[in-house]
């Protein structure tokens, strides 16, 4: 029972972590809470759905297509809605992000209708594996595996490549990085692209897991992923992974203990409690007060 719930929690949590990574990376670089990120995730789920249902491609190819479309969309959104506001107050950029979010979810509602749609059957062969008393579906294993691979790839990009170094430099100090000859605009676009690719993958995986894709799925998932990012310490990549997993596991545990009607509140209650003890999240850097 415990093991079963743990696997359920980790599967759910890794999708939260995938979305949370996008929030945390963008925040780390331009301190913007990108509220449109949840919508990118929703678009990813839809693109994956159409790729499997209409183009009838393999599941993995569908995920790649979704990632590609979302990368293009996010870079476009950054160009149009955030770049002109980079020098103005952070709240204006926040409202702009909210505007984009409303725009995208309404667009999705108009294009795809208000009803939730499911992935076609047989996209991914779901089998149940028995380990002890627990029953684990291959789908859950797939989600955990894909998330793990993507996160390892992300760690590699951020820590071992030149562009990753530029990203870290830009998040350390935007102006100094620009002075050192880093093309800051390119780095920011790249950050948006990376985050959205992860969110799109998360969208396809969640679409498969719950077998429901709808225009408003981005809102709650986005808020929870944002909570996960803050829980881990916003701006910290390992923090987002940890926060996502922790929220997923506690949410599943809460439902298992019979608080299913409070499901959406569990994540936020944990968040508020953790922040009261550790005001900058679990792995966040201490904010130094300077006079």
């Amino acid at each position: 029972m415990f093991f079963q719930q743990l696997v359920n929690g980790i599967a759910l949590g890794s999708t939260y972590a995938l979305i949370a990574l996008g929030y945390t990376m963008v925040y780390g670089i331009i301190t913007l809470i990108n509220f449109a990120h949840g919508e990118i995730y929703m678009v990813g789920a839809f693109v994956g759905l159409f790729a499997t249902a209409i183009l009838k491609v393999n599941f993995f190819i569908a995920m790649l297509i979704a990632m590609l479309v979302c990368v293009l969309l996010a870079v476009l959104v950054e160009r149009i809605a955030y770049r002109p506001l980079r020098k103005s107050s952070r709240l204006s950029a926040l409202i702009s992000a909210i505007g984009v979010s409303i725009f995208l979810s309404t667009l999705a509602q108009m294009l795809f209708g208000a009803n939730a749609k499911g992935y076609p059957e047989g996209v991914f062969p779901v089998k149940q594996i028995h380990i002890g008393s627990a029953e684990i579906s291959t789908l859950q294993l797939l989600i955990i595996a894909v998330s793990a691979i993507l996160m390892i790839a992300l760690e590699f990009i951020v820590h071992k490549t030149k562009i990753g170094k530029a990203m870290r430099a830009t998040s350390e100090d935007y102006n100094t990085a620009a002075l050192m000859g880093i093309n800051v605009n390119m780095v920011i676009s790249f950050t948006f692209a990376l985050g959205s690719a992860l969110a799109a993958a998360g969208g396809v995986l969640v679409g498969l897991l719950f077998n429901a894709v709808s225009f408003n799925m981005g809102l709650m998932a986005g808020l929870k992923a944002f909570a996960a990012a803050v829980l881990g310490g916003i701006g910290s990549i390992p923090g987002a992974m940890l926060g996502g997993l922790l929220l997923g596991v506690t949410e599943v545990a809460g439902v298992a203990f019979g608080f299913s009607s409070y499901r959406d509140a569990i994540a936020f209650a944990i968040l508020v409690l953790v922040l009261l003890v550790k005001p900058t999240g679990l792995l966040g850097r201490k904010i130094q007060k300077k006079v």
Partner: protein, 319 residues
């Protein structure tokens, strides 16, 4: 008096009446949030939670106790403020975006709790009986709007308001000047909640039906957009922002399905072209006085300063 006003309201198209009331309630909420976010500089993403608490408190007071409307409103305000102070004490120690997410989390928790309580009738929502006043609701709402504007303007120019602005400017410097930062933050939070609670109470009694889901994240965002669009910290700005954003969905109704699409695009465009808000950095009273010729124009002041600094010579010219 009451009958006459009721009759008067009868002449106005109920649809327009509803828009007018929505604008009024929007203004009240925006002014409340403006105290917290605009004046004190604390980003709150959960202002709708206080509206929700106010709406349900006043509804329950009316249903269970049948309280007179005025007493009900004042009591609602105080109860909401008390809740805000209780919540504010621990979470206002957080800074910046950590505070923002905490308020967001608090709002979600309030929503889910109300969706699960018997007294708020769970997910079905509450039907609120009409208030026992003789004055029609639209007029009550706009009286409250005027009162709020007056109170908030007094606060802007008071010792309390200046302390809040000092906290917004720099918390450490404010603390060094002897301002109890946490106390002032909690007070501004409670004041914002007081106003939001009354706004919620009015909303509940005007609409006649409330549901916890009405006061979700999107409502909070709506209110925040009004404040930022109008210009942070500007009362006139909040009024204008609230008017535009409350009326926009109605005026965009002819676009049917495209309505929210345009609304989203509108938010982005307004932010790109007026990043500091419509009234950001503009003093409304100053503007009025200048057009009336009662106050010298900015350019004349600048010219005066330049000529002064020229005559006083170099060395004194600290501009």
């Amino acid at each position: 008096m009451g009958d006459f006003l009721q009759q008067l309201m009868g002449y106005i198209n109920p649809y327009y009446l509803q828009i007018i009331v929505n604008i009024g309630i929007g203004i009240i909420l925006a002014l409340g949030l403006n105290v917290v976010t605009g004046l004190t500089g604390q980003l709150s993403l959960g202002h709708a939670a206080f509206m929700s608490i106010g709406a349900f408190t006043s509804a329950i007071l009316t249903i269970k106790l049948g309280m007179p409307f005025t007493v009900n409103m004042v009591l609602t305000g105080f109860i909401t403020a008390a809740v805000a102070a209780l919540i504010g004490l621990p979470i206002l120690r957080l800074t910046g975006d950590y505070l923002a997410i905490c308020t967001l989390g608090f709002a979600e928790i309030v929503k889910v709790v109300f969706l699960n309580l018997d007294i708020t009738n769970r997910a079905l929502g509450l039907s609120v009986p009409a208030p026992n006043t003789t004055i029609p609701m639209p007029i009550v709402v706009w009286i409250v709007v005027l009162l709020t504007i007056i109170i908030v303007s007094f606060i802007h120019n008071s010792r309390f308001g200046r302390a809040l602005m000092a906290v917004r400017g720099d918390e450490i410097a404010a603390e060094a000047m002897g301002i109890n930062v946490t106390l002032y933050k909690v007070q501004s939070f409670a004041l914002g909640a007081f106003i939001a609670g009354i706004g919620g109470g009015l909303y509940a009694h005007f609409m006649g039906y409330i549901n916890p889901s009405d006061f979700g994240f999107l409502k909070s965002v709506d209110i925040l957009s009004m404040v930022v669009l109008g210009g942070l910290g500007s009362i006139t700005g909040s009024v204008i922002g609230a008017t535009i954003l409350s009326a926009a969905p109605e005026f965009l109704r002819f676009m049917a399905n495209y309505r929210m699409l345009v609304y989203g695009g509108l938010l982005v465009c307004m932010m790109i072209f007026r990043p500091n808000g419509l009234m950001g950095g503009i003093s409304f009273t100053g503007l009025v006085l200048r057009t009336l010729g009662l106050k010298p124009h900015m350019r004349t002041i600048m010219e005066q300063k330049i000529s002064e600094s020229e005559t006083s010579g170099p060395g004194n010219g600290d501009t």
